[in-house]
Amino acid sequence: MLLELVDVWKSFASPSGKSARSVEALRGVNLNLAPNDFVAVHGPSGCGKSTLLLTAGAMLRPDRGQVIIGAAKPYELSPDACATLRAENVGFVFQQFHLVPYLSVLDNILAPSLATKLSSAHQRASALISQFGLESRRDHVPAKLSSGERQRCALARALLNQPKLLMADEPTGNLDSENAQIVLESLAQFASSGGAVLLVTHDERASRYAKRNFTMQAGELAEK
């Protein structure tokens, strides 16, 4: 397995801070992702989709349960080892793109190489730029890009270190249908090439590309 979530629980304090009740974002979630898996998780806003993604991506420690990436348990590692595990195994794509505003497209795509010292980073970045049709935007900063271009740039960045897992949080949320299709096809292509994709989305079009579809309701995950 590339990713295993075993009885994962995660709760947050009430946003107002006045209520003693906490909000349970994940309630005993179990999920496995094998190579070539493309899992789409659907659900309304606030149901815990992003929490699931961040917990699975070794960025948000669960209250209970196990998260296993490959053979490693990231939350039992030191912060630096956890960061290295993430850099080498997981790619992230977000709805808000989260590009570094002062870096060019090329530099944004190269940013993950800061963590891994990938020797062929530059060649691979160039290949990804070509793959995502960003040649003419290579030296542009994110502010000069369209939403679709930004998301393609973010996708290329996520793929630079050749991760085994790709985690996408509403990657089509800010895109037109043409760019949404490009992104979803790219995710599917990544899955078919041996990786695994965990996608959380509102976009029903994603169902067509995912091999498995889940719904999330009040922190509980159920396969469709």
Binding site: S50, L54, M59, R86, F92, A111
Partner: protein, 450 residues
């Protein structure tokens, strides 16, 4: 792609924030260098001013010493000559001379060998300065029908073991005559007149002013002529010893010394003014010394006042620097810290994604502290440059005392210049430390969920 490139790109993106950090650091460096340059300049200027004043004072004192010495010499000479008119100090007479006769008639009658003078001159006696052998007799100047005292004298006999002294009395040359006041008044004589005395011809060379003593009825001629005229060849009536150092009981010692050299003589202190004369001479010397001491004191006071004034200025500047430099450094650190915090706060999303793609905490720290280090280096260099320009121009003006090279050559200043960028780097990094910690510790998940 590396972290340095990322830092450079970020600085280019947020120029104002970085420029303000650089300026804050530069201000602190400027205060440090400027204050140090001013303090060193003060110190060098003080040394130069005081050295210059000291030189001027030394020159002034040397001039005053010369003036005082000259004035003292003139005063002493004048005093000596004025006192000369009052009489001689020591009169050496033959043992057989009746002093009653001397005092009643004004002239002695007993004689002693003229070679006594040479014997005394060759002796090691130290208490007598001038020797004047003489013969004198009250005569009837038949050619002028007037009674006068004929006084034969010669130039002073030098005392062999002493340095040559300026003679108190000019010798009367052979064939010449010096006339006392009453005589030349009564006979209506003037310098250059030719007169005959006891059958010999003389030309008048000098007329004395009134002295109110026996001198007014005296005529002076040279000793040898007088001895011939009076039939006293190789004999003298008296030896006049001038300027004897005969204050207090020294007269007793002089008598003993002379008795050992010239047996059969007696010594009398001719006039009490001798003591007065010695005292006057000493007084003249004392007055000169006091005048010089007063000048030296005035000069020393001036130097002390200048020194105190400079010290006060230096203290003021040092006090100001002591307060200003730490304050400026603290203010700069605070501002750099706030700017760094503001920077970190604006970069929360960026830091979140960098953590998400696997950058370690140490790399995030490096991004922030590397930026701070650059602002420290640049700020230090800018502050240093401005500080040096100001230091160069601090003393600019017509009366330049301290050049920049003087300051540069002062001990340790070059090291301070070299150390300043290091200090400012440390300052900027320490000030940015909290912001860097804030950046590292922020919740990545929370940032990315927003």
């Amino acid at each position: 792609m590396n972290l340095t490139r990322l830092i450079r790109r970020e600085i280019a993106h947020r120029k104002i924030n970085f420029a303000l950090s650089v300026l804050s650091v530069a201000a602190a460096a400027l205060c440090l260098i400027g204050a140090e340059a001013i303090l060193r300049s003060d110190s060098i200027a003080t040394r130069k001013i005081l050295a210059e004043k000291q030189t001027q004072t030394n020159q002034l004192i040397a001039q005053k010493q010369a003036v005082v010495a000259k004035a003292g010499a003139e005063l002493e000479d004048a005093t000596r000559k004025q006192m000369l008119g009052l009489g001689f100090n020591i009169l050496i007479l033959p043992q057989g001379q009746d002093l009653s006769e001397l005092h009643l008639n004004g002239t002695p009658s007993a004689t002693m060998p003229a070679e006594y003078v040479d014997r005394l001159a060759k002796s090691p006696i130290v208490s007598i300065n001038h020797l004047l052998p003489s013969v004198s007799k009250r005569i009837q100047w038949s050619e002028q029908n007037m009674e006068v005292v004929l006084f034969g004298t010669r130039g002073e006999v030098p005392i062999m073991h002493q340095d040559m002294k300026k003679p108190l009395l000019d010798a009367v040359a052979p064939g010449q005559m010096v006339i006392g006041f009453t005589v030349h008044q009564k006979l209506k004589l003037k310098v250059g007149d030719s007169v005959k005395c006891l059958g010999r011809d003389f030309k008048i060379s000098k007329l004395h002013p009134q002295r109110g003593s026996m001198d007014d009825v005296t005529v002076w001629i040279d000793l040898a002529t007088a001895q011939e005229m009076l039939g006293l060849q190789n004999l003298v009536h008296a030896i006049l010893a001038l300027e004897c150092e005969c204050t207090g009981d020294r007269i007793t010692q002089i008598r003993q010394e002379i008795a050992g050299i010239l047996p059969g003589t007696q010594v009398i202190e001719r006039y009490s003014q001798a003591v007065t004369r010695a005292e006057s001479r000493n007084h003249a010397k004392l007055v000169a010394q006091q005048a010089l001491a007063a000048e030296e004191k005035v000069a020393a006071d001036l130097l002390a006042r200048e020194s105190a004034s400079r010290e006060s200025l230096e203290t003021q500047h040092a006090t100001m620097a002591t307060a200003l430099v730490p304050l400026s450094i603290l203010a700069a650190m605070l501002l750099v810290g706030l700017l760094a915090y503001n920077n970190a706060n604006h970069r929360r999303e960026e830091i979140g994604i960098l953590r998400a793609i696997g950058l370690r905490a140490s790399q995030i720290m490096f991004i922030f502290l590397g930026r701070a280090m650059l602002s420290g280096v640049l700020g230090g260099c800018v502050g240093l440059a401005i500080g040096l320009v100001l230091a160069c121009n601090y003393n600019a003006g017509a009366d330049v005392l301290v050049s920049f090279n003087d300051i540069l050559a002062s001990r340790g200043f070059v090291w301070l210049l070299l150390a300043t960028p290091l200090v400012t780097v440390a300052l900027a990094m320490i000030a940015s430390w909290i912001a860097a910690i804030f950046a590292v510790r922020q919740d990545t998940a929370a940032v990315l969920q927003c």
